[in-house]
Symmetry: C2
Subunit: 455 residues, 2 copies
Amino acid sequence: MTKKISIVGAGLVGSLLAIYLRKRGYEVTLYERRPDMRKVKIPAGRSINLALSDRGWKGLQGVGVDNAIREIGIAMTHRTMHSVDGKITTQPYGKDGQGIYAVSRGILNCTLLDIAEQSGAKVFFNERCTNINLANNEMSFENSETHSHTKATSDLIFGADGAFAASRLQMQLSTDKFNYSQSYLEHGYKELMFVAKPDGSHQLDKNSLHIWPRGGYMLIALPNLDGTFTVTMFFPLKGNPSFESLKPKLDVNKFFNEIFPDAVPLLHDLEEDFFMNPTGSLVTVKCTPWSFNNKIVLIGDAAHAIVPFYGQGMNCGFEDCTVLNDLLNKHKDNWEQVIPEYERMRKPAADAIGELAVANFIEMRDLVGKPEFFIAQKIEGWFYEKHPDKWIPLYTMVTFTNIPYNEAQEKGKMQDAIMNEIMQMSDIENKWNDIAVENKILTLLKQQSPNKNGL
Amino acid sequence: MTKKISIVGAGLVGSLLAIYLRKRGYEVTLYERRPDMRKVKIPAGRSINLALSDRGWKGLQGVGVDNAIREIGIAMTHRTMHSVDGKITTQPYGKDGQGIYAVSRGILNCTLLDIAEQSGAKVFFNERCTNINLANNEMSFENSETHSHTKATSDLIFGADGAFAASRLQMQLSTDKFNYSQSYLEHGYKELMFVAKPDGSHQLDKNSLHIWPRGGYMLIALPNLDGTFTVTMFFPLKGNPSFESLKPKLDVNKFFNEIFPDAVPLLHDLEEDFFMNPTGSLVTVKCTPWSFNNKIVLIGDAAHAIVPFYGQGMNCGFEDCTVLNDLLNKHKDNWEQVIPEYERMRKPAADAIGELAVANFIEMRDLVGKPEFFIAQKIEGWFYEKHPDKWIPLYTMVTFTNIPYNEAQEKGKMQDAIMNEIMQMSDIENKWNDIAVENKILTLLKQQSPNKNGL
């Protein structure tokens, strides 16, 4: 019988999972490598705010914390693109005011930790997992303050310790036939900041996610409650221009004035932030299996770290929790059935969102700046409005539905192929909402469906 | 100045590399995790004999040990296929008696170790590398007999410690942006054996590599000097049939009698070997970068472990040594230039042979049993004979030339596309050597070359 469950990692997913498992009556202990973030300040330049969307909300809703979180979020209903010449374009994210929510990672995590503790989970901080003996589920920890070593065992261990998970490393080192890949983009990121107006309000529309797409790179900005924006620069690590090439301060100022002119007056202290904040790297992690002997299970980034360009990292991890909880209901807490099914369902979904996230980087930094993209989006939005049962834009499926990511990816490919044909139609930029376009899409959908859906 | 070089791993590649580096005057120390294989017996069921081909010979030739090795090898000039109904088909590997050489991994490794020591390299056995501090090139070892811990530093460290390299793990754990993947086939392998005739001769043609292709799986057999054959069964790990499903002894005998009937009378002790020998796994490892700060460099399987189906694992590792030595000549031992160029040249080559090796598994177990495959091979052989300047079969490029693997792979794809068109020609099975076929290939080659070769 599984009674005692340990979770390595008290980040967003570990904390939410603890709440779910406490609700089901398990003894839950969380071990976190870092100090208690409710008591210490998070280092600057590492905050990256998050965009909560439907899958994330569903995860929070399942334990009744969605309303508390909605109060600390800012709805972003639009994408706002800033071109070099100062031209501004906006696109709605969904229809009828659908939006994604900018939330602070820190506040969200602290809230979940509070609720986890209130619900009876024990949380130990500063405990770095140094080993997991997979033969007897014994975890070893080293306390980063006292340097004392402790051990603990559990009926079941969840590895929720993120992209560089110690739990996953043990699976790599101690199990046979563990498939694993970690793959880095050639871009890194740097956190910058837009200051608030003197009256504490935002200098740009706060209900937008702002993008400065520039082909090979981009800036994005997400609103914070205090009137500031967290700005993230996604930029090549090497080459020209790159984080490596922009060394002298003069170069950085010159570059920003040329490439992001309308952002410059809003920035906090470009030189300080650019040179003092760390350069982050962007990794995709895939592995399989996610579990060993039904006694240790990877979840969230530990199982499937993805790059941030679809805003789905946390949402996917929260959906892991929802799916797991649904399966525990279905199988009446029989973990021997739950774990294999969880893995069968979630592995293809996680692979899909990992790929979609990399692909969306190219779309965000590149395609959104291209006129064809806008036409295709207009056609898609218009057709979706008329035939919501026949076509849902990929972004909408990923962000505003719970359709498994892998199904969304498949449908997205099929829709892409159709849209490519539509864009070949003559004078499409003017005739984009012509009856001929509608009919052609309907015909192509009919042709596609027998193959693509295996009917 | 680089003077002291350490090599972690005294396997085939580590030992050969040591000889090359000693010839150039470096102080060379080898650290090997296992005991001295010249003094202890290698465990049964783990020998897998090797097939030396041109790239391997070139590596051995560069240090003058090719003739010594040729004496302990057996030339295999043909592939012999055994079908279920006992029918035997042979195909030459190359033309004019070109062959690959079956050699014993153990004897080869012992010979290279002897020569490395004679040339002045120091070799320490039973020394397991537990850590490499990349900041100061300090290696830590634990002796598996005395359990004593020692440390050593070096100007340059080579990680030649194989598919599960400790050196590579340090790169994964301690460097930023290390791209890494380990990916297992769903098949494993098991070593079996054919006994010799009472007079010590071989029961099957010894100048052949024997294959029992059966679609989803296969047996292969390579000759040994003592009249035996080392037999390897490549078989699914799970499913039906699989190593998992063939549990009772009766099942194994029944299965072999049905599926490999002509092999059964030749086998040593099927039940003992099947149940006592370990089931091996088949992994492909890719990573990049292969080096850190030009102070530690991965080589051989540590950089690029591949599956055995092209017989190129060792050959590729030996070619690493040849390429490195050529670059040391070119750049007059300036390692700062040599290491980046080595990596730029070898990484695409290693990726290519890794992919070709996986693809050849499907060919070996499947296509060789299909009649179209034989026709295509006949056409290819005939055309190659007439136009050796225009077409070289992929197998020949990989096995009997030093064309970089990635170029061979590219050319192979182009040739495959042409052969697919040729195979559509009417009555091709009878008209395979018609002038029309020759002309069509020539025409298609002319069409292909501007695109594919970037002319």
